[in-house]
Symmetry: none
Subunit: 247 residues, 2 copies
């Protein structure tokens, strides 16, 4: 079957072992996925152990995009899923792999950039990264033995992608336009508000400021913001601040 060229990227965040990066590339390419991004791999880049393990999927490593931070890696993405076995105390939509791939496929067919983020082997994604994602993917596992490794998790998501993309039902349902802003803009908007609120003494008392900010950022990342929404929010805040100065 012909490979689907419009596809999500898989973002490996701080992967540790080269072997796992190589095995992840294999798992992706087994199911026709080609776009790997890597955030600050522990052992630097390129990594010979990754190359050795990837064998026939080495091209994915050659073409992988390397980023210094998670923010950089997701900046041009419209929607990012964070894979985590343990959804923390965050109010964020949680999808099974199948549901997530279905949603991703629908968004991609409308021209959006969709990424799946995978944390480092031992610890998984940091809470601060999960907050920036739009949704969570959680693989249903045996609670008595939930330890899926990085490459296995990637394999399962890639498998679901293959199932979905070879089952090409032209998905025409659109509730979310193609106008969704890239996450970088949401991040900037969130910072802009946070800064203004910081100045106005919103984050108080001080010992709760950090968790208030985390909630605040998480809220923005869950909002399906279009370009014009973002303009409205900027305009709103500017206007309120301007009135502020005049009085």
């Amino acid at each position: 079957m012909p490979l689907e060229k419009k596809q999500p990227c898989f973002i490996l965040v701080n992967p540790q072992m080269g072997e796992n990066i190589g095995a992840s590339a294999r798992g992706m390419w087994n199911f026709g996925l080609e776009r790997m991004r890597i955030v600050s791999p522990r052992d630097g880049w390129p990594n010979q152990k990754a190359v050795a393990m990837a064998s026939g999927a080495g091209r994915l490593l050659d073409e992988a995009l390397i980023f210094p931070t998670f923010n950089d890696a997701i900046a041009d993405q419209n929607f990012v899923f964070a894979t985590t076995a343990r959804p923390r105390d965050l109010i964020k939509p949680i999808y099974s792999p199948k549901e997530a791939i279905k949603l991703a496929s629908s968004k991609i067919s409308k021209g959006q950039n969709v990424g799946f983020a995978f944390g480092p082997e031992r610890s998984g994604l940091e809470n601060s990264d999960i907050i920036k994602a739009n949704a969570i993917v959680s693989v249903p596992v045996n609670e008595q033995f939930p330890s899926l490794n990085l490459a296995q998790c990637i394999l399962l998501l890639a498998y679901e992608w293959m199932l979905k993309s070879t089952n090409l039902s032209s998905d025409k349902s659109n509730s979310e336009g193609s106008d969704m802003v890239p996450l970088m803009k949401v991040e900037k908007l969130s910072q802009y508000f946070e800064h203004a609120l910081e100045n106005s003494g919103f984050f108080y008392p001080e010992d709760k400021a950090e968790s208030m900010k985390a909630n605040f950022r998480n809220m923005w990342s869950r909002m399906p913001l279009t370009n014009s929404d973002v303009q409205i929010f900027y305009g709103m805040l500017r206007q309120l601040l301007r009135t502020n100065k005049k009085s």
Copy 2:
């Protein structure tokens, strides 16, 4: 979720590397499968490399049943699936993993014994063994890179078993938490903001005010707001207005 006790057995036929047997045990137990059978493992039994790799799933190896031949391993089974990437020239039903698991589940619920057979790493199942199976399972892979290894293939089948036995499709987790506010509250929040912005001269010029307000309301109505989000937005605006008055 409680594990399904009535389950298929996974039969590893002439596996070569102990590491792969261990990884297979892990993959099975990740998804709640416990019954491993092994036909004449190349390096004998028990195998220390298998044990080392299996870590938390070592019990499956302790309890694995070892058989000298494929015939012995399938003797008490009512139905056996042969996994193979390349269906040979055999007239035999071919199922996807999902279809196969569905069929297996149905048979198991009727009290039948169902096995899935996996061939040795390099060569896969012999034609003479496939012939003895009732049906073929074939994982849909990228034809340009079809090389799934033994443990990966087992992982995917076990994953499908987990999906089937926990019937996750009906489980939307807390996709959009139960904490979503009723629309009435969104409406009030929107009005509150609109009112403040009206006072600050946000809706300008006047002939565009109505359409700006319509956009504004539409935006709020699209936001998946929880109770705590609504509190944040109220708090945000109040704080900005308060700062306003003080200055």
